[in-house]
């Protein structure tokens, strides 16, 4: 008889992973958006409202959105690898896709903003204490306007995974932060784009705060060989769908 393997003590990550699984069992979230109070992501505890949102018709103002144009965005803003005197380190990538409303109509000439860690998983931010190297040739912020087809396109470096302090040995899967405007103020979206096949998804409370598996898939870019530029950069496609206005059926509980 061989001896039983030594029992490993339960780690903090084990507890969080359990909590993630438990949270995924409750009712599906409307539109796939995360609940603001989500225990595995500890900072939500004091930052999520305790009162229900108040349902209100969007005002005429809220049915419009700020307009951005050529004067707001320089052509080089969309290439995060040319913001310095030299080339940043890491894997050069192209990230492109379309911004659509829920009816599938392109959101044209609207602002898309991104920010991200460098290839080592370090942000060019004073508050980032991860002891990974800064890259003097990479800041990690970019902007562009969508074209008439709703398409955006960035050239950047594949960001690294990084540790954070949610719990012991917590790591964020590699991601690019995205900020989007629609044609109505109510369509505003800030989200994160992930890369396919990341082993950290199931361990990460932020990715997992989206509990529906299909909704999770909508956060993950697709490797696309046609987007890949020969001898130069790997390509990823990621389409973004903005809420409303008026495209979501009324929630019977709220009408």
């Amino acid at each position: 008889m061989s001896p039983a393997p030594p029992e490993r003590g339960r780690s903090e990550q084990d507890e969080v992973t359990d909590a993630i699984r438990e949270a995924a069992l409750v009712a599906p979230q409307r539109g796939g958006h995360p609940d603001r109070a989500y225990a595995p992501y500890r900072s939500t505890a004091l930052r999520s409202p305790s009162q229900p949102l108040v349902v209100a018709p969007a005002s005429l103002l809220e049915q419009t959105a700020p307009v951005f144009g050529a004067k707001d965005v320089a052509a080089t803003d969309a290439d995060l690898t040319v913001h310095s005197t030299g080339e940043p380190l890491g894997e050069r990538i192209v990230v492109t896709g379309r911004v659509l409303d829920r009816d599938g109509r392109p959101v044209r000439n609207q602002l898309v903003e991104v920010w991200q860690a460098n290839a080592s998983g370090r942000y060019a931010h004073d508050g980032d204490r991860h002891p990974a190297p800064l890259d003097p040739h990479f800041t990690g912020g970019g902007r562009c306007l969508t074209d008439d087809d709703g398409r955006y396109r960035f050239v950047t470096i594949k960001p690294g995974a990084y540790p954070w302090r949610n719990h012991h040995n917590a790591w964020r899967p590699a991601h690019i932060h995205f900020s989007l405007f629609g044609t109505a103020f109510t369509q505003r979206l800030v989200t994160q784009m992930y890369f396919p096949g990341d082993q950290l998804f199931a361990l990460d409370p932020i990715f997992s705060s989206v509990t529906d598996e299909k909704a999770q898939q909508r956060l993950i870019a697709r490797y696309d060989h046609d987007t890949t530029v020969a001898e130069w950069a790997l390509g990823y496609q990621w389409d973004i769908v903005l809420d409303g206005p008026g495209a979501t059926p009324p929630d019977p509980d709220e009408v």
Binding site: R36, T44, S50, V54, S179, T186, V190, V210, P250, D251
Partner: protein, 194 residues
């Protein structure tokens, strides 16, 4: 065709080099006639200041017109674009300089600023509104304000508190707990859009 929306994710702690821009809070330049400061503190459920929140404001001009004009990110110092974006500072405070909005023609609502709140620890942004106390009649007829209990409606009202530089209004954001700000699930006629 109805597509499912892309889910929201938190803005995280490191948006400071991605989103804020120079002059983000200067909807109008210093010295503009009629300019007000709108300022306040963002606090969490324990009453602690939130130093890593980001606020966006969208508004009509004093003439009630909604600008459809580029140039919010690179301001030219004379065009009113109606958009502001400011991070909170170490003390959870923010400030913008703007003009009070006028009534939008055909709008059932009293003049207001539309506000979006982002923060680390907030998985999905929050919408709210800033109203001004001097529009007594319009506020009394406002569909949202008039439907709320008085103490909740009060969380949406800017409080005049002039400062050394001129007229000012305070608008605090309480994410949770006593005095919690009213946050909105905005719907259009066809349904929820939040």
């Amino acid at each position: 065709m109805t597509l499912d929306p892309s889910p929201s994710q938190t803005v995280g702690p490191f948006f400071a080099f991605g989103l804020p821009f120079d002059g983000g809070g200067d909807v109008v330049p210093p010295g503009t006639a009629g300019a007000i400061s709108l300022h306040g503190t963002v606090r969490d459920g324990a009453g602690a200041p939130v130093p890593d929140a980001l606020l966006e404001f969208w508004q009509a001009g004093p003439d009630g017109r909604i600008a459809a004009r580029a140039g919010s990110l690179v301001r030219d110092g004379r065009s009113f674009t109606g958009f502001a974006r400011v991070p909170t500072d170490r003390s959870g405070d923010y400030v913008i300089r703007t003009l009070r909005p006028g009534p939008v023609a055909g709008s059932a609502e009293a003049p207001h600023l539309a506000v979006t709140v982002f923060a680390r620890g907030l998985l999905h942004h929050l919408f709210t509104r800033v109203y001004f106390p001097n529009h007594t009649e319009a506020n009394a007829a406002d569909p949202l304000l008039s439907a709320l209990p008085e103490e909740r409606a009060a969380t949406l009202m800017a409080i005049p508190d002039g400062w050394f530089g001129g007229p000012g209004y305070r608008f605090d954001v309480r994410l949770q707990g006593p005095g919690e700000t009213v946050f909105l699930d905005l719907i259009s006629e066809a349904g929820a859009v939040r």
